[in-house]
Point group: D2
Chain length 359, copies 4
């Protein structure tokens, strides 16, 4: 038996622990393991395929990043090729991938990735490849699993930042707006905002009014709390759309910054008269050593992926349905979306803690 | 409406976040909140009952400890009284407690604690008191809830320690035995051992043979891995009982140290000839700032406890059954025990990672 | 004896430990202690003056921020007053300050602050006030002292961020540019860049050429190191001035961002073709719990300030000249500037480690 | 030019950063570098000598431990050999060491170690070898240098532990005695005790009376502070010698535990009636990632050692005499001892903070 491992999409703390666990569990069964570098690039002649041994994975269980490197480059079914004239053409390179996998004697693939990787995996399964998946998303938006590795670490990183910013905001009577990851969902913003006792949390699932945000800041001021911490998910949307606070002249700039936090800060300062600063945590959230929670979950997922191969659960994704690890068919995963429940106990409790969602 | 909050049993990171959440959620409903100091001592005239306001709970969400202090002193139904001659007599002081609660106008109590507190709560409910519970255990051994606050922090503390010890063990070619909490269950040892890539994990659920432990150490030696990290739960039991390694002469001492780690270390050194050191993490695991995971869970539990009062769920415990918070009747909780499943995916994966359980 | 304490300028981790130490050392001598809120605002009728007791400083030794709050509002000798028409007029309010201090029975003042605070302190001494100073600067640019509290914490925060970013940069083959504090000096960038093994460090003391920076990135690429970490002090200056990379059209924006990191990133991406991201750590560097180093130094400084009062060392600043704490006359401090020595052993060693300064 | 690097004595965070810096600085000069495994064992045929390349030291700057491993086995001039009958004979193996070094073409050695390593280095220099030294001691007891790497990390580890223990001690009204490293000096205990706001600090430099310690605990009790944190250096000595509290029957046991903390705890509990617990931090203090302070210092030391070779400063030790790195002749280092100054500003300030030294 020879299996191969691929990591695709953005970096997430715990990737190496998944790789390590899969490699050790496979070797223990007497299997061979290969590592495909940079997503599927290693199977498309654009990077390497390397053997993964006990030595390859020694001491990586607690490290960030991925020893296989990763990429957002796109699908082998729709692969971007830069043309002579600089334009980009998308081509289907799946035949090449499948042929190369066969040539290398690869019997099955463990694909570690998010939405995009799950879709590619299903397409490969449809073409007869044997693939099992491990879900990876910083944002916690993969359905059918309680959570995924990397999320707890990202939340911890944001909470550490909020802890640091709290004292400075308070010492200087300032408003601090902190942008965190979450284009489509507000899990990081919500969880970190609650754990880090933010005053305002703005998430894609609950459109916000800048009036309400400023009201909250001023209500605190009147109560002698002369500072406020505002956590903003990248994808937070003002009522009326982003133009309502971005205005006409700077959409390009705001886009570059990933969201609304900079214009939002300016607007809050203008309306409340309070010194307001913004901070974009960006890549900090993807990096670093995984928390112990994520290390354990990654290890369980890595081990489960090998059992999924053993059970020939092709086209399935390993998932945490506490306290169990289960295998879920990819189509079922893709059929759902996972979003913050605006009526769930977490949002409800947040409101009772005095957190405003700007609605 | 006037409610009171009590914290009993050992310290656990997140207690203050529960108190804060319950206080804020209650105040938001226009209720009064009292804090009973040191378990129920505040209602027995041995300590204070204090008002809990918004100011009382400001800035405590991320702190360790409990502003109400806590105690292991025992049940009001079986309260230890030191007699004139130094002996201890146990008396039922529940009438006094109930009378004092009535005198203070307390309508309902939130009891935050472990097994012992749950039993007392049920007895108080049987006597007509209105009590809801929040589970608290470092050891993760309260059934009917995925986990409890404090556990993630304790595991993190152990993993940090293991990370530190790894490099020293490796630099010095040493065996290091680390004792962690867990008299009845091995959750902390197992989770931390996996996340911290220990080589041997000894837990109460799987009796260990010292021969097998030494075999593992020597197998690593032969493979060029000249150090080993052994994580030992307090309650880990050698096959044949503790006398088998403690011998005759020092049972008292071993008891004082909380477990078998010291004699175990000596025995390993004697049998393998390798320098072996022991370390008892002890109280470090109960202290410190809660992790972001525990802060969020504590806050959810604190909010849920107030909703439980609102719903008159007397005699219920709030519980995490991901992704939901539910209310479970105390008798149902007490009917179960929660232990590490020796056949579950975690132990299985641990074995595949090369971890020995000494069996 | 009645003394008062004031904290001015930007937040720095360790301020509370200085306050605590001064208060405890003064109380132990039987003195009274007052706290002036927000710089000197408390003595100008714009904020409070509060008594500082043993209870006021309990448990603040390890916290960030300042219980006295702080401000950059400006000097009492040149105080900004907003006029009816919105314009700002600067007035000398020192008489008022001195009168209020006298009215409160203040015998001596401990002023904790940076350059600005030192100058104000000297002016107050010239007017007959009894002031001693404790140096405070995140940037480490106060002369005559080995370092000041807050600097070690700021460097640690940056190094933690670099550790996190390393793995992500490497996994994604990216260039990451990280802007850190240091308008006039590059101490934070240099120390953190070395401790965090950056590839390029850009500091005000060594003007950089963007060509050299890109050369370094490409040299690493050729050596198979497909990522680079670039640490940029706020005040880093390209050869030829900031316009050389900022261009004409966006100086306003660059200023808002505090420096050159954003245009620098764009330029590197354009020239090298490598994906490049920027991150501005900003206020994170001022916040959070002080490191143990800073807690100790703050405590020593706080204790020394009280001894300076006892010795009537008016107009002196406490300073660390390892292993001793000494008192230095303010004019001597102000006569010097403290900058990174481009020929010192640290820069020299950094170069030997392969770090490029872009020169 | 071919140099070799050796690490001896106990583990200390920063060893790898020194190795990395020396290797990079040497390679940059076009030199060859060898690594001697486990002290000098690699030159005595008992372990390896390995080439150290750029790849060998990649990514080790922030790791604990030493890639060369280390040992306390003893001097090549007095090397322990186990005889057939189990007894140990000490022999001079220096000729063998020198011959092997010559055979490997080693021109100069960088010896990283403490007291013991310095003495061996001097003996080797006396025999004509070219050796320079980098001081290493967790305890901070190497004279002629402000401090050494590893010390700041050890203090940080202790302070983190004290922070955790504080909340638990307070919640449970307990006395906690924490034993830290320091057989001959109390630097770790003193620095960490101040930074971590201990109540009592016991160090070898100031013999303590158990009466005074108990008095302090009870004085706090009377003031409503019902818990105490006591930091005890391994080498702390009660007035009257250790027998005064160890008694007759358990000297062996106390020795095993490294010090007086366990009998001390029992004695305090007996005399004050307060629940008292002890904790021995042990190896935790030697391990883990170095702090940013230690990483920088290690890197400077590693670079300086190569410059020392370049300047043929045989028999010198690199040292920090802030802000400079200097070279000090080994005999001058060995002539001094470095101890906590009981009359210095740190102890004085500690007393003013209310810390008792038990005297």
């Amino acid at each position: 038996m020879r299996i191969a491992i691929s990591t695709g999409g953005g970096d997430a703390p715990g990737l190496n622990a998944v790789i390590r666990a899969s490699v050790l569990a496979a070797l223990q069964r007497g299997w061979d393991v290969l590592g495909i570098k940079r997503g599927y690039a290693g199977l498309l002649g654009e990077d390497e395929v390397i053997p993964l041994t006990r030595d390859s994975v020694r001491g990586i269980g607690h490290t960030g990043g991925t020893i296989l490197r990763t990429t957002n480059r796109g699908s082998p079914f729709n692969y971007p090729i830069v043309q002579a004239d600089g334009s980009i053409k998308y081509v289907d390179r799946s035949d090449e991938l499948i042929a190369n996998a066969k040539a290398l004697g690869i019997d099955a693939i463990i694909s570690i990735g998010g939405d995009g990787s799950l879709k590619i995996a299903q397409q490969l399964v449809d073409r007869g490849m044997k693939v099992v998946c491990v879900p990876k998303t910083i944002d916690n938006d993969v359905p059918c699993t309680i959570n995924t590795f990397g999320f707890d670490t990202a939340v911890s990183t944001v909470v550490e930042a909020l802890d640091k910013l709290h004292t400075t905001a308070e010492s200087h009577d300032r408003v601090l707006c902190v942008e965190v990851m979450g284009r489509d969902t507000g899990f990081i913003a919500l969880y970190a905002g609650m754990a880090g006792t933010a005053d305002v949390v703005l998430i894609p699932e609950i459109p916000f009014s800048i009036d309400k945000v400023c009201e909250k800041v001023m209500a605190r001021e009147r109560a002698g709390r002369r500072f406020s911490i505002i956590v903003v998910a990248e994808g937070a949307i003002p009522v009326g759309g982003t133009e309502s606070i971005l205005g006409e002249s700077m959409p390009g700039q705001a886009k570059r910054l990933g969201g609304v936090v900079d214009p939002l800060s300016r607007e809050i300062q203008k309306r409340t008269g309070k010194e307001t600063r913004s901070l974009i945590l960006g890549h900090l959230q993807r990096g670093g050593q995984p928390t112990s929670y994520d290390r354990l979950l990654s290890t369980r997922f890595g081990g489960a992926a090998v059992r999924a191969i053993e059970e020939q659960a092709w086209g399935h994704m390993v998932a945490l349905q506490s306290p169990h690890i289960v295998f879920v068919p990819i189509p079922e995963v893709l059929r759902h979306t996972k979003r913050v429940d605006p009526d769930g106990d977490i949002v409800m409790t947040a409101r009772e803690m005095g957190i405003s969602f700007g609605d």
